[in-house]
């Protein structure tokens, strides 16, 4: 059997998001994220005043960019990217200079004070490698998140990205973000 190329991505239908933060909690529990740090967040945007009022919730985490600036600036190669697009930190190589945190246009990384290394969303690579989906995707009660492989035409995200309009955040940075927000 030929080994198929993979490219993981996340589609986010933010209009379904109710800001319950189950994804944030699931991530913290799954990845044992230290107190005070988060690998994902929900951006809140309020507009107008009652009765002309709108609110928008937008989950965000590492965009696992195709051309990640965090990987480019890392002086030791601790920040690296797998062939399937997942951007990871090799904790043994990280010297804790935090250049990657500064280079990330999405502020997706955090500094683990205790270990002295930088950490971030891994797309739950330990689960994905077993064929599961990331914890934040699995737990989302309103099905905001769809995780999948862009190279696989039968995948649900393929259908969503072909039939729905979407945007990516800050494409002008040239990073090629892989979090797709449906409009």
């Amino acid at each position: 059997m030929a080994i198929k190329k993979k490219r993981y991505a996340l589609v986010i239908d933010s209009r379904k998001c109710i800001n319950c933060k189950a994804c944030v909690v699931a991530c913290k529990a799954e990845n044992k994220v230290p107190v005070g740090n988060f690998r994902n967040r929900i951006n809140e945007e309020r507009k107008g005043e009652y009765p002309k009022l709108s609110i928008n919730f937008e989950p965000e985490q590492c965009h696992h960019c195709t051309d990640p600036s965090c990987v480019r600036v890392c002086p030791t190669g601790a920040s690296w990217q797998r062939k399937d697009g997942i951007v990871l930190v090799n904790y043994d190589e990280c010297i804790g200079c935090r250049y990657c945190m500064i280079a990330c246009p999405y502020d997706a990384r955090y500094f683990n004070e205790e270990e002295g290394v930088v950490d971030k969303c891994t797309f739950c690579s330990h689960r994905v490698d077993k064929g599961d989906i990331p914890a934040c995707v699995e737990t989302c009660p309103s099905k905001v998140r769809v995780f999948g492989d862009l190279e696989d035409p039968t995948n649900r995200i393929h259908e969503l990205l072909s039939t729905r309009r979407y945007r990516v955040k800050e494409p002008q940075t040239g990073n090629g973000p892989q979090l797709y927000y449906l409009l």
Partner: protein, 326 residues
């Protein structure tokens, strides 16, 4: 909430690295200005050579202390990643520091050299073999060191300028701004040290040399800063937004009043005032000690503030939201 990942240690390091680059550059240049094959500014060159390696050595130490795992700093030298300014910079910094120390060694007087080696145990024979006079290499070391000193001076700006995610930094002018500021700080520090060294009082032609050098560098710096602001205003919205940090935002006063006025224009005015009569009216250069002290002190103050403003304001700037502004 956005935090500052790089703090005061990085500011100090960027300042000290630039200072060393500037000191070495001025010292090397002084070595090359000769009349009848004799350097006219030999004392300037020697003072610069003696001072140059220390700031960068201290700065590198601070840089290592700022790491999350400081004892892993050696990993910087197990890799060379040409796309990472920090990787290039750490190699550049190491080579430059070694050259600067070599240059210092070349400028030591014989008795000073002997004194140093008298402190080393006589059984360390291999070390004692280094006790040689290399004063004839001064010019060669200076020439090899020039590109490295320029490299270190400009690298501190590239480190910030190469970050595409921070519009406040990501222009092609920050590197030059830092370089000229570094060279100017070096000339000023040298002037300060020469004036404060009471055992060997500074001579007028030496003051004039350093003041002239500083006027040139400050002018270059000024004409990088003005285009930086003008270009930024004419650039994309993100850069324009980032510039509000110094145009009405939290760093406005420190930029315009303390850095640009006190740290750049005032010392420039003092130095021009000092030079003016000797250049345009044919009078002798007086070289007021207090004027020179004030100007040099203010230049160093301004050089530090420039790094302070850029490190902090740059981290606040971003594409998707203006960091802590909201």
């Amino acid at each position: 909430m956005h935090e500052f990942n790089w703090g005061l240690l990085i500011v100090v390091y960027l300042f000290l690295g630039g200072l060393s680059a500037g000191l070495f550059f001025a010292a090397g240049l002084a070595n090359y200005l000769t009349v009848d094959d004799k350097p006219v500014y030999a004392r300037v060159a020697r003072m610069g050579a003696l001072l140059a390696p220390w700031p960068v050595a201290i700065g590198s130490g601070l840089l290592i202390l700022d790491l999350g795992n400081w004892y892993r700093f050696y990993k910087l030298f197990l890799h060379f990643r040409w796309q990472s300014p920090m990787s290039i910079g750490s190699w550049l910094l190491t080579v430059f520091t070694l050259i600067a120390f070599l240059y210092l060694f070349a400028w030591l007087k014989e008795d000073e050299r002997k004194w140093i080696f008298s402190k080393i145990p006589a059984t360390w024979k291999q070390v004692h073999r280094l006790n040689v006079d290399i004063s004839s290499w001064r010019e060669k070391i200076a020439m090899v060191g020039f590109p490295f000193s320029i490299g270190v001076g400009i690298y501190t700006g590239v480190l910030l300028g190469a970050v595409s995610a921070r519009p406040f930094w990501n222009t092609n002018l920050v590197a030059q701004m830092f370089l000229f500021s570094a060279l100017s700080s070096g000339a000023a520090a040298l002037l300060l040290a020469m004036i404060l060294d009471r055992k060997n009082p500074i001579e007028k032609h030496e003051t004039k040399f350093l003041v002239t050098l500083d006027v040139v560098f400050i002018s270059l710096e000024l004409f990088i800063i003005l285009p930086y602001i003008i270009h930024g205003q004419l650039s994309s919205q993100a850069v324009k937004d980032a510039l509000t940090l110094i145009l009405g935002g939290p760093y406005t006063v420190v930029f315009w009043v303390f850095f640009l006025f006190l740290g750049l224009l005032v010392p420039l005015a003092i130095e021009v005032y000092e030079l003016f009569p000797s250049i345009f009216k044919g009078r002798e250069f007086h070289g007021s000690r207090n004027m020179a002290l004030t100007a040099a002190g203010l230049v160093l103050f301004g050089g530090f503030l420039l790094r302070y403003i850029f490190v902090y304001a740059g981290q606040m700037s971003s594409f998707h939201r203006m960091g802590m502004l909201q």
